[in-house]
Symmetry: C2
Subunit: 180 residues, 2 copies
């Protein structure tokens, strides 16, 4: 969910495992730029919606699969999965470990108002609309079926420690799968 | 989600706060009995579906609101909320604190196979169908918007400790709301 801290968790896990991160939002932002549009939150949302309507709900994940193929890495961390359909597409790359990052809505709202990043929200109304848009894509089902849950109700230091612990568990799980 | 340990968490929180628990599944089971049907997992699911189709997605929550009214308690713990529509109905009772209980699917599957409770699953296929039915009702969105997340990847003792901590936080939050 927006403001949960998932990008921080994605970066920490990727660094710990030595994998690249593919940010699904970046893939859409590149598409926005390719169309010669300004990279605003509105355009990113509009292009993402158009892509999904034209080419199906798994389209951005398909672009991630292509990108991952060109990276030739042993594994990849994907930041920003929004639906089980996207998980299904990503599983073409190999075993998928879903990591959810949860923060209480009150904390997410506070963070997003404070950080003032491009596309961040200014009012509770805007916050609710952003949440709704994410839930409509089906992100709740991905969270419900997560293999790992990182609760971000803590300091940044503690969040990093929690993400590192999950990275270690994923390494162990994938090593025991490959018989290592 | 089924097998997450949510009923244990509900009972611990209720005991700690001195509130009664209303189990949404029990409300449906009573309706099944009232119709003279045997209380099997199939009948409970069928009657729940019929109720929702006839009287809307919030119908079981409405029955909970009625029941809660007759209990005249200061607060109530509701076990088994499946959708944001149900949360909206329950908020007629007062401030709602959503507590989600998360376990990785692999652990939920193991637990449900082992406990062999009435209505528990016997195969991975059955497990997936039960998960899907829950996700279709919208439980993922409730989890995504939870105010508190209890991760149940631990011993029963530790789960109880985690639930007690959440109960304490809810008490503090509701006391500061009422200016206590």
């Amino acid at each position: 969910m927006p403001g949960s801290g998932k990008s921080t968790v994605a970066r920490v896990i990727a660094e710990k495992l030595g994998y690249p991160v593919i940010v699904m939002g970046d893939i859409v932002r590149e598409e926005v730029a390719r169309r010669g549009l300004a990279i605003t939150a509105e355009n990113v949302e509009r292009v993402a919606r158009e892509l999904r309507e034209l080419r199906g709900p798994g389209v951005v994940a398909e672009m991630v699969v292509e990108r991952a193929g060109s990276l030739k890495a042993e594994g990849v961390v994907v930041d920003g999965v929004r639906s089980l359909e996207e998980v299904r597409v990503l599983s073409r790359l190999g075993k998928v470990y879903i990591v959810a990052v949860h923060s209480p809505p009150s904390l997410r709202f506070k963070r997003m108002k404070e950080r003032g990043r491009e596309g961040d929200i200014r009012s509770l109304e805007e916050f609710r609309l952003r949440d709704e848009a994410n839930l409509e894509l089906g992100v709740g089902s991905v969270i419900a079926l997560a293999d790992y849950m990182v609760v971000n109700d803590c300091s940044l230091e503690e969040l990093i420690a929690r993400a590192e612990r999950v990275a270690g568990e994923i390494r162990d799980a994938s090593e025991s799968r490959s018989g290592g």
